[in-house]
Structure formats: C-alpha cells, structure tokens
C-alpha cells in the first residue's frame, strides 16, 4: 500500500456528484498528477484529502492510518501539506514570517512560556528561525527573507508557497496547479524545482496541473478525472494514448 490511498471516495453537493467512487494509491517517493478538464472534480478530490470536505462516502488513508473527516490543521500535523490554486500567502508578513508560521504547528512551549521568553521557549524560537533560514537558503529565497510576501514577483510567490508547505515538515505535498499563470520558460524551471525538492526532502508529490508538458515530463503516474469519474491511470505514455482520455479532452470523433 502506498503513502496515500483514497478508497471509494464520493463527494456529493446536493444533487451534484463532484467526485464519484475515486480510488487512488499514491506510491511513496513518486511525483504523481491528477489531471482532467475543468470541473472534473480535481480540487474537490484535493479538498477531501486535506480535510476541507468530509467525503460523502469512502475513506482516505495516509500511511495506513485513516484520516477521513479530520480537520485540515490536524491533517497538516500528520504530514500532508498543500498549496492553493490562487496563491494564499500571508501577504502583509515577511517571507521569513511566512515560513516561521508554518513551523508553529510543532511548537512545544505554551503561550505563557512563549510570551515570558522562558529559556526553553527562546531555544525553540532560535531553532525555528535557524531551520527556516536553512530552508530559505536551500530554495534560494534567503536573500529576500525580509521582503513582504505580496511584493514578490509571481513566480517567487509560487515558490514561497511551496517552501511554506515544506516548512511544516510534510511527507506528502499536494500542489494545486503550481504552474498556473506561468510561461513555458518558468514552467520548465518549476519542473526542475519540483524534482529537486522531491529528492532533497524525500517527498511524495501529488499535483493538479493543466500544463500537459509539465505533467508528462515529471509525473511517474497520472490519474485522469472526467465528470468526477476516474477514466484512466498510468504512465504518461499510457494515458496519452488512451482513447477515453482523448475523448474527454477533445470530444468524440464524429462518424463521417
């Protein structure tokens, strides 16, 4: 069994079935992708994994432990971190603060000892700062650690959001359209970046993406969703030639 397993996930909103009986098994250490046309239910699937929605039916397992319906903050504590389709940084705070906030979930001091700057809280704070700076240095963001998040260029903001997710010490990273709004050149760099962090931090990555070249280039396994159904899964080669996938993306070929 893989690191993340969705078994029979169904998500209904009133009469609309956004995700229907979805089964996914993400292998540890892989980069895998969830693709599909607009409205196929990809983000809904993400939201059932991260606890934003409790699925109508089915279960989510992370490292063989059932996490269905747990609150998002508890799921992050277990080791699943995400980014958002429309970047959600803490805009008015500095780059370093953004990263430090992602360290807060593991804090051991309570608010009193933290406020009173007890020796162990000082040590913890110092450790958090050092860890954050090391992360920023690894990702090449240390030179801008005092800038406000909203003042960064778009590409850097995407990068910072991934960095922030990494700072939670996640084992599984969910990226929701990391390349949205990027030009081919930036997308190329992003592919390299995703691969690097996977190797460096021993991550498993599951992403939603519309840039097919990015998906085909870096994912070991691809799941294709259409109208809430999983219509295909496999390697880039397998999925690319699957008639159902072609149909979903391009429509049925009319008989002459």
């Amino acid at each position: 069994m893989g690191i993340l397993k969705l078994s029979g996930i169904t998500m209904k909103f009133g009469g609309v079935v956004a995700v229907n009986n979805l089964n996914i098994d993400v292998e540890k250490g892989n980069i895998e992708a969830l693709i599909g046309p607009n409205g196929a239910g990809k983000t809904t699937a993400f939201n059932t994994i991260t606890g934003v929605y409790t699925p109508t039916e089915g279960s989510v397992y992370f490292n063989d432990e059932e996490i269905t319906g747990i609150a998002p903050d508890k799921i992050t504590k277990k080791g699943i971190a995400r980014t958002f389709q429309n970047i959600r940084l803490f805009k008015n705070l500095s780059v370093l603060d953004n990263i430090l906030i992602a360290n807060h979930l593991h804090i051991k001091s309570n608010f009193l000892s933290s406020t009173l700057r007890m020796p162990w809280s000082r040590a913890e704070e110092k450790y958090m700062k050092k860890k954050s700076e090391m992360l920023l240095e690894k990702l090449g963001l240390l030179s801008i650690n005092n800038e406000k998040a909203h003042s960064l260029p778009y590409g850097e903001q995407r990068k910072l959001e991934i960095a922030r997710a990494l700072a939670t010490d996640a084992k599984l990273l969910l990226l929701d359209e990391p390349a949205a709004g990027m030009n081919p050149n930036e997308t190329e760099k992003l592919a390299e970046f995703i691969r690097t962090i996977r190797d460096e931090f021993n991550l498993t990555i599951l992403m939603i993406e519309h840039h097919m070249d990015l998906v085909m280039e870096i994912s070991e396994k691809i799941y294709v969703l259409d109208f809430g159904h999983l219509i295909a899964e496999g390697t880039a080669e397998q999925v690319k030639n699957d008639p159902k996938v072609i149909e979903a993306y391009l429509g049925v070929e009319e008989d002459a």
Binding site: H104, F111, R164
Partner: protein
Amino acid sequence: MITNKKNTLFRKLNILTVIIAIILLYLIDSDIVGNQYIKRILNLCAIYTIVSVSMNLVNGFTGLFSLGQAGFMAIGAYTVAIFTVPVELRESIFYVVPQNPVLSQIQIPFFPALLIGGLLAALVAILIGMPVLRLKSDYLAIATLGFSEIIRIIFTNIKTITNGALGINRIPAIPSLELDNFNISFGPMWSIFGIAALSVLLISLLVNSSYGRAFKAIREDDIAAQAMGISPFKHKVMSFAIGAFFAGIGGGLLASLLGTVDPKQFYFTMTYNFLLIIVLGGMGSISGTVIASFIVTAGLELLRFFDEPLTLFGVNIPIFRAGLRMVIYSILLMVLVLFFRNGLLGQKELSWNAIIGWFKNKMPSHKKSEGGAL
C-alpha cells in the same frame, strides 16, 4: 559594526525615556507638578491604554471584529467593586436589596481582586468565544456587541450581587505601596502606570512570539493558516480570552479609580472609544495604540471647552453649548476614517530608527544631499 553602534545608542535612548517617564511620574504623583485634575486624566489615559491594546490584540492582530470590550471591563470592574468594599459598609450600600449573605462576608485585598477580575473576564470570554468565534467579520461584531449588552443587563438585574442599577460606590482607592524603611510611598498612579506598562509589555511580547505570528496568520488568511496546521479556533479563543483578561484588569482599575461602578458606565458606546483609539493608532500597532489612547482620552477632556458657553467681544456664540464636544468628536472621527484609514502607524511600530529617519527627511539640507538615492 554600524548596526551594533546604532543598537547601543537606541538602548541608551530607551533607558533615558524610561528614566524620564519615571521622574515625571514621581513629580506628578507627589503633587510637585500638575494637579489632581491632570493626575486623574493621566490615570484614565493609562487605563484606556490597557484596554485599547488588549482590543488591538483581538481586532488588529488576530483580525477578529469584536466589540465586546465594555462587557469584559464590566466583569473586572464589578469583581473589584464587590470584593474590595469593606464588609462593614456593605449594608449601607446594598440598602434596597441586601447583598448575598455569603458574598457580604468576603473581602479581598485590591491586587488579588484585580487578578480575579481579569481571570473571570477571560473565563467568560472562553465560554462566549466557543460558540461566537465560529462567526466571521460583521456577524462576530454583532454577536459580541450583543454579549456586552447582555452582561450589562445581567448586572442590572442580579441585585443581590451587583446592587442593580444603583451600582456600588465607596470602592476603596487603589492602595499606596509604602516603603516604611525608606519613607517613600508609591501612590495609586504608580500602580496604574505600572500595570499599564506591564500589560503593554506582555502583549507586545506575545504578539512577537510564535503564537503572535499564528494570530497574524489567521488575520491574513485563516484558510491558509489552517492548512499550515494552525487551529484557527483554538488560537482565536486564546486571543479573545487574553484580550478579555486585560480588559478585565482595565475595568478593575477603573472601578477603583472612580470609586464607583454602575451598569450605565459600561454601555456599548464605551467600546467605540476603544475602537476609535485602535483605528487612530493603527490596527496592528501597539505603539500607535498607546499614543492614540493618550491623545483620545486627553483630547476628550480638552474638548470639554466646547461644551461651555463662549462669549466673544460681548457676543454669546450660540453653538457653544453642551453637546458640541460630541459633534466635534464625530467630525474628527469622520476625517480620520476618510483621510487616515491606516491610522497613525498602520501596522508599523514606533522605533528610534523611524523617528530619526523622519527627522532626517524633514531637514532640507539632508534632502538635497541624499535626495538622489531615493
């Protein structure tokens, strides 16, 4: 090296400021400078500082639009009133409905009573906060406003505990701390300013700790904060309760300073004074709030001039009458909201660096020589 030198300079300036403040406090407290009126206004300023900074923690730093501050102050004020009035005076104060027989035998010294008041306010905040903090923005404001009115109405009606609408008077003044060996006595002003300084210090330490960063994260984007493993609910309740604790402390000090409490004091309009202060000072700026507390509280007193009849060159100016003060106050409020939406300092804090920078900018000679860099 240069930053090191600057830091030692700033540290010296800080120490100097504290020393000047202590000397001023000594001069005013021992009646060498000023008079009772000035003393009273300054004490009020310090108490308003405590409550405003605590409100800024909730509204400015955690991003919760809460208007319940008057309610929490009432809890602190009544706790101090009920427990510090000497037992032998109780009967003459509760002359319509006698006080609860158990309570009427309990008398606690001022400082423990003050602490209990703060803790009770925090406890009530936790109980209220658990259902109410699930609401957002305007809805939360309405719910907290309602809560503060409920507290006031409860206090008006539990006559055996609070003496109802009559209120409790003859509350003893904040005790002076005597140092007999040195023949020095620290009057109530020292306690009020001491507690105010301590409150501001504690809140700014909290705001700059990891928990403070979590509060700010919730203010910036609570969905992202939760995705980063921060429980918005737990941290909102925490901030709300800490804010209520300091509001309770402020209320307790106020009760003792005025010597009397009654439910009408804690009408919801009181909360608007604090709202004005934190908006003027800057939501998310502690130093801004402290400055604004002094400006607004002292300003409201100075504006009393407008409430008195004015005769210029033998002509009585008709608009100078009771009520004009509030008109001017409201106009100032509108100007503030229209032109200074971020307040004095926005989310920034006052620092020596900023002050020196500001003065440098004002000096034309510097502007000429360094203008090219900007």
